[in-house]
Amino acid sequence: MQKINRNVVLALLSLTSLVFLLFQLCYYKFYLSQKNGAAFSKGRGSHSGQDSTRWHVVRKFLGLISSHNIPVYLIDPLILGLVDKDIEQIRSSPDGPSPECKYFCAPRDFTTFALLDKTWKHDAGLFRTAEKMGFQWLKIINKDPRLDGMDDLSGMEIPLHYIFKLASHAIHLVVFYERSGNFLWHGPLRLKQHMDRKFVPFRKLHFGRYPGAYEKPELLLVSIDDLKVQIPKNPSSFLEEMSHSRFLECRYREARAFFQLYPDDASLDAVEFRKKAKSLLHLAALTLNNLGVKFWLSSGTCLGWFRQCNVIPHSKDVDLGIFIRDYKADIIPAFQKAGLPLKHKFGKVEDSLELSFQGEGDVKLDIFFFYEEDDHIWNGGTQAKSGKKFKYLFPKFTLCWTEFVELKVHVPCETLQYVEANYGPEWKVPVKAWDWKSSPFNVQDNGIWPIDEWDNVIQIY
């Protein structure tokens, strides 16, 4: 009896679970197909039909763009990566028909193009034509950062990104703006409340997570997959640039609040110092960029940028940081050639290197070299008369671009941590009496240079 009961129970259970399973399978299938049905296949498992979709969409888009005389260029990292491999061949045969669809047929959700804002007229006709051609489009606008630093100017919001969607493919058009400092800037992609969050899988976009800074690219007209497009002349350097293009805007609002508390020094001396510091920084940037040495704003100059978006008028020098791995022996002669004589050189490449150049009118350019350890980064200091060594510790950081005194320069992305490490939690309060040996928050004694090395590690001119 018991056994039969058990059998019946088991059979019943099996039946229910079978029904349940079937139901779930159906649901699963339905669910997935619905997701796919939303015009956006996830790219999982390529469908052969999609290949040409992308190509057709891109072609249509290029037609739309050229009919309105809008010069766009291709910045899609995946395609540029492919193009870069064949760049010689593409350059040499700009017009030849291509035997196979190599670049625009890989199934992707997006193709990314760039548009220089000043080259088009914000012609609304473009969107009407786009709609007629079947595109759905989305415009992402936001505040104009070029006016952000200004006292309470409110301009019109500017378009930062456009997305044109047709069938299962979308074109992401990134709008680049020229900024002071002779570089191009694109904005972050941020959706406003009322926007359709599912218009496209935004997460997969290659541009827009952060704002970015780029050099003005030279363009090249090429024909790939029978489509004529402009691409950056040197795709590999563009891709390299893209990988660390993140841009930080100065914190203008906080800077204004700072100036409310501590009114800016508008004395003639301050104006003069700022002018000199600015031209010194421009000269230093030019020199180091020519050498291809990556540098960032450090110490007081970095604090000035972070706290008040300007040079601190009572600081007496300009401070830059360079990773020791980027050190080049040419640095000193290059600065001398630029008219900045070496003032002193402390330390050596292996340890605590620090260079100081004499700029125009008593303004000094200090270059600190940073040494990377497993869990921190440090730079060194040396007291000339005693041979004492100091060490300044920083948490690890990466570099971001920013705009400072009409210059595109690097700052640590983790600026707050960097500044706090250096100046402590009270960094917001201006300190005029500053001693580099004791004032910094992160200074440590680091022993003394052996006397026999002094000639080498303490050089004063």
Binding site: K3, R6, N7, L10, A11, L13, S14, S17, L18, F20, L21, Q24, L25, Y28, Y31, L32, K35, K118, K121, D123, A124, G125, N142, D144, R146, L147, G149, M150, D151, D152, L153, S154, G155, M156, E178, R179, S180, G181, N182, P188, L189, R190, L191, K192, Q193, H194, R197, K198, P201, F202, R203, K204, G208, R209, A266, L268, V271, R274, K275, E406
Partner: protein, 658 residues
């Protein structure tokens, strides 16, 4: 099926063929039962696994989807959506209009759209125009019809208002003294029964539709000359029409879309909103060949005088070689109407939160505008600075295009200005002639970026300093002896009279309009070949004929009746700042005499009777050496009595004029 193998129950039959096993199982009840049981258990197990997988999959999909909704990409700022005005389905507006000696107000549906109880201000007839479909205020004006000619302005305005608009009138203090017959007739034609009989210090309110019905009118007669009529409050209802009826049916183009947006918001811009044959808002002037200022940004500095701005932008966009993309209008304050005008022309506009007061406010606005201009156009080396109350000539950009290289090459230049302070109709002649002057006229000028960024911006007067930006720029500390290039015939014309810095009286009565608009466009070819008075090129006209110094220079006969000659006269000028004789001479020549303008090294150049006329200050000017020994410089004494009376207001006015 393989899972069956490890099953101990079927172990004995492991090696048999499946068919046989099945057969055997069928025969063996016990084994079958066991088998079924195992099968059921296994099946349940599989179901559980599939279930778990499904749950995991669904969760992952859901998570991905959530991710895709891109929280990362959400605007950090919690955009508090401005609550949209609920679609106004209401067909009736409640309108309240109040008129009294010291206060007027108008409320539409409980919202006060006009309230004026300031003393000594806002006297006259207040007019409000409402959109007949939406009830929005489209224009607000006050015409001080106590004073002469204001009624004409009112008639002009009322004639511009489109048919069908709702008009609201109310009088504050006094509105009838100079309300002439014509104006009264216009009001009568709008349906007012009282207007023809309005008299001294009457109070009056009226609401009506242009070319249509009257919604209400109230009137309180003044009982005696010394008293005002009782305050009147008119409450009435206005029936709204449909939006379609309130709009014109222009062809659907981008331009007309802008026009439509503009015309449904504001009134008083005349034919731009006319349904039949509206004036164009795109001008497409001829491009300039070899235009060197095509990429130079143009900053238009504006306040809240949208009608002026409208006129200004029209003239700007009609100028040859204009590049609308480089134009930015900077509006001092959050005024809507100037922004509407900017959008009508498809230009970009920037509003500026007012900082400080009076002149300092203007000065801060200039600073913000100039900084923003160079931020927005980081490549630009120059900026053209214009104001909302300027007309510019058709060849304005041609003039700049041909002269801008001077600013680029010559460090001793401070600016290029389109305005000649001494360029009156009777003193300016040569469209191809440029001067170099020690003063900075402004009114349409070019600023070098390096000058602004390196010198002016860092020490620009702070908001608490109530300085005029232009007076500050003219101070020797800033100008540092640098000079400006100006044309003989002005390329800009200052039409504004209600601005902060323009004393209307002087402008209207003393100064004939500058000849800026008389320019012929063929001047552009000749400017470059014309005398460019840079240091090296500028030489004293040795062929100049010395005039007869025994005659009175104020007399017309002082200059012979010739044409195209060059004459020179010498006046006494003891040192560089001695302008006694010049001022008297300027007075009798009817040119700018309130302060000294247009001079260069003690020399003034202008035209008299179509002859070039040079005035040299002796001995201060280096050109004094050209004076023949026999000639005694003319000395003109300031009229003794007038000096005290005139000099003081003159200085004050000079400080005010820009």
């Amino acid at each position: 099926m393989e899972e069956w193998k490890p099953n101990p129950a079927v172990k004995p039959h492991k090696k048999r063929s499946w068919y046989l096993a099945w057969k055997y199982k069928l025969m063996n009840q016990r084994a079958l039962r066991k088998l079924c049981q195992t099968g059921a258990v296994l099946f349940l197990l599989v179901t559980v696994i599939v279930n778990i997988k499904l749950i995991l999959d669904t969760r992952r999909a859901a998570y991905e989807e959530e991710e895709e909704s891109a929280q990362d990409y959400d605007d950090e700022m919690l955009n508090v959506e401005v609550p949209r005005h609920p679609v106004n389905n209401k067909k009736v507006l409640d309108v309240e209009v109040y008129s009294s000696r010291s206060k007027v107000y108008v409320a539409v549906d409980g919202t006060t759209v006009l309230e004026d109880e300031a003393r000594e201000q806002g006297r006259g007839i207040h007019v409000i125009v409402l959109n007949q479909a939406t009830g929005h205020v489209m224009a607000k004006r006050v015409f001080d019809t106590y004073s002469p000619h204001e009624d004409e302005a009112m008639v002009l305005f009322l004639n511009m208002v489109a048919r069908g608009r709702i008009l609201i009138f109310t009088i504050k203090d006094e509105g009838s003294f100079h309300l002439k017959e014509t104006a009264k007739n216009v009001l009568k034609s709008l349906g007012s029964q009282v207007a023809p009989f309005l008299s001294w210090r009457d109070m009056w309110t009226f609401v009506g539709k242009k070319g249509g019905e009257v919604y209400g009118e109230k009137h309180a007669k003044s009982p005696a000359l010394s008293t005002w009529g009782d305050p009147v409050l008119l409450k009435t209802e206005v029936h709204l029409t449909s939006v379609e009826d309130a709009e014109c049916h222009w062809p659907d183009t981008e331009l007309n879309r802008r026009r439509k947006r503009f015309c449904s918001k504001v009134e008083g811009y005349g034919s731009v909103c006319s349904c039949k044959d509206p004036t164009p808002i795109e001008f497409n002037p001829d491009p300039l060949k070899d235009n060197k200022v095509f990429d130079v940004p143009v900053a238009v500095i504006a306040g809240n005088r949208p009608n002026y701005l409208y006129r200004m932008l029209r003239s700007l966009l009609s100028a040859q070689g204009v590049n609308p993309q480089m134009i930015t209008v900077f509006i001092d304050g959050y005024y809507e109407e100037p922004m509407d005008v900017v959008e009508l022309f498809g230009l970009s506009g920037i509003q500026h939160t007012p900082i400080s007061i009076k002149n300092a406010r203007v000065s801060q606005h200039y600073k913000a505008s100039l900084t923003a201009t160079f931020n927005l156009f980081p490549d630009a080396k120059f900026a053209v600075v214009l104001e909302e109350d300027l007309d510019i000539s058709v060849d304005f950009f041609s003039f700049l295009s041909q002269s801008i290289h001077l600013l680029e090459e010559d460090e001793s230049l401070y600016c290029i200005s389109a305005w000649n302070d001494q360029g009156y109709e009777h003193t300016a002649e040569d469209p191809s002639l440029l001067y170099r002057v020690e003063t900075m006229p402004g009114l349409g000028w070019v600023l070098r970026k390096s000058l602004y960024k390196d010198e002016l911006e860092p020490k620009w007067p702070t908001p608490e300093k109530l300085w005029d930006w232009d007076m500050w720029m003219r101070m020797p500390e800033q100008r540092k002896g640098r000079e400006c290039i100006i044309p003989d015939i002005s390329r800009s014309y200052h039409f504004g009279i209600v601005g902060l810095n323009m004393n209307g009286y002087f402008h209207v009565s003393d100064l004939p309009p500058g000849p800026g608009l008389l320019l012929s466009s063929d001047s552009d070819t000749s400017t470059s070949s014309g005398g460019v008075p840079s240091h090296s090129l500028f030489h004293f006209h040795s062929e100049a004929e010395v005039l007869d110094h025994s005659k009175n220079p104020c007399e017309d006969s002082f200059v012979p009746d010739t044409e195209g000659k060059v004459y020179v006269m010498f006046i006494r000028m003891e040192q560089e700042a001695d302008f006694t004789t010049w001022t008297q001479l300027a007075k009798c020549l009817h040119i700018w005499d309130l302060d000294v303008r247009g001079n260069h090294k003690g020399l003034w150049r202008l035209f008299r009777k179509k002859n070039h006329f040079l005035v040299v200050g002796v001995p201060a000017s280096p050109y004094s050496s050209k004076k023949p020994l026999s000639v005694t410089p003319i000395y003109m004494e300031p009229p003794a009595k007038e000096e005290g009376a005139v000099a003081v207001p003159a200085v004050a006015a000079a400080a005010e004029q820009t």
